[in-house]
Symmetry: D2
Subunit: 174 residues, 4 copies
């Protein structure tokens, strides 16, 4: 039986990275804004206010969450490149998803926000040497990790949330 | 042998339209900006300056052409809804693809332009009654046609150009 | 007594154009999207639904009108550069301002649309030689006119509508 | 003699805040993206690569810096609203201004990024009660401060950088 929370499976990190896999991760990150935009195309307000699973975020919350998450990721890469093993600041994604911008701001704004953040983020990623991906950041809860691991996480994170949307649309025949 | 000019086939209009097919056409138009954005993600300048087929437009020209075409289409719908069988003004797409904005402006601007034009266009399409799609416009060369036909044409046109890009990427292993 | 319809005065064309005046017109066109965005910043829905003068368009209609007008202008320049004295297709701006996209689409989308159209339009304008501005288009009602005249018209048109908004804000203390 | 680094003066915080002053700060933040866009309109690459003062950032660096700074500010507000006196993570703005996205990404992307971040940030600010502005965050270097102080800082920060650009344009007759 499928766990609706993980339509493409949980993120797993096996510690292995190659140039080809890095390139594929960057490509996935580059493609995510367009795929998210296509995934929500044509949805009306009632559909956007539907939870992607019972008890889960609404599609609207999912859309606004993705740029919140990825602008934090963008900052974490820049921090880890410009500082020595910085301890980054996590945020409470559950609480952020309840803040008033989620209802007040149209999703088109967050789609555009994601486009723009990814464009700058991908420029950073493409400017990094292989050794830069071996730099560390420290997450107060999940610990010390390489940028390779963070890269793989976010290459998974976009498709993960996009699949929340596309799988609900499929189940509901939208 | 495949004709590289028509990766998804030529547009054909059989004159038949139903509510369901209309809805599908609108959905395709709504999805096109995200799919175009995903189709070009991660391409560098050299790749963008590659023709999608020998003698054809470069990918860069394709990307800038799509919003030029669709903002004209958006206007044609508005004209046909607010006037009685207006004669629309065609444009020389070959000449427009050689104008200097194509080289001077980054493709991200045209992707954003397409997002925004489609958002207003789709709002128009979703606000139309079935009888509105039976209204006519007159194209000086191809003649009098219903908005149903124009709708079907543009539901094909986005995926047509997107396939120019994705099929080249596949052939070149990009 | 001020005519609220013309806060910066009516457009006047005296037929004179110089390189410096052309440059100033292009600069005004380039600056308009930012100034429109600043002019509406912080307005709420009730304010946006207020007519800029008794019996006039609401601020929301004004904002959506500007990109509709300017994407037509952008096309007219491209037509006149690529064809010999083309007859352009006017549109019924009064009817367009009543179409459903005006209510359905957030103004942020039209502000972004304006940014993107102007970026391509300004690239065209900056790529034109002085002699290109002496090319003609034919407006079915107002007749044959040079691109210099059209340029001057649109250099006035953005500030004209921006002043509708800023003058109402000033009168209402918003 | 004017200090070119501080064209509108240094930021000063006197600890006093009123509802009216808060409202004015939010309005300044809301207006900043449009004013920045207008401030750089029509600049060419050579002009963008000119330092705003001898030894200072280029205009291009200034433009890319503003959204980097403000997306951090946006996060700090959300952190301080959802956590109890969080210690935020500063970033090295000097080092970030040298990262490769600054040269690789067109300024139009960062202008659009700023539009979108401000739209969500302003929605947060408008959703805050007066008591929310009395919440604290802790900056590792500058210490514990209220959101009122952070608000005033960023209401100054946008115009501060915009004035770097407009004052150079004025001095250079651009």
């Amino acid at each position: 039986m499928t766990d609706l929370r993980y339509p493409i499976g949980k993120f797993r990190w096996d510690g292995a990275m190659t140039d080809a896999r890095r390139e594929e991760c960057v490509s996935r990150i580059a493609a995510a804004p367009g795929l998210l935009r296509a995934a929500v195309s044509g949805l009306d307000d009632r559909q956007l206010d539907t939870p992607y699973r019972p008890g889960g975020w609404t599609l609207r919350q999912v859309v606004h969450h993705v740029p919140d998450s990825h602008l934090n990721a963008y900052c974490r890469f820049k921090l880890a490149i410009t500082e020595n093993e910085p301890t980054i600041k996590p945020y409470d994604e559950t609480a952020w998803a309840e803040l008033p911008d989620v209802k007040a701001v149209p999703i088109s704004t967050s789609l555009t926000l994601l486009d723009a953040v990814h464009e700058r983020w991908v420029a950073i990623l493409r400017g990094m040497k292989p050794s830069d991906f071996e730099r560390f950041l420290v997450h107060p809860e999940s610990g010390r990790q390489t940028l390779d691991q963070v890269l793989a996480l976010y290459a998974w994170h976009g498709p993960h949330h996009i699949a929340h949307i596309t799988s609900l649309r499929q189940r509901n025949g939208w």
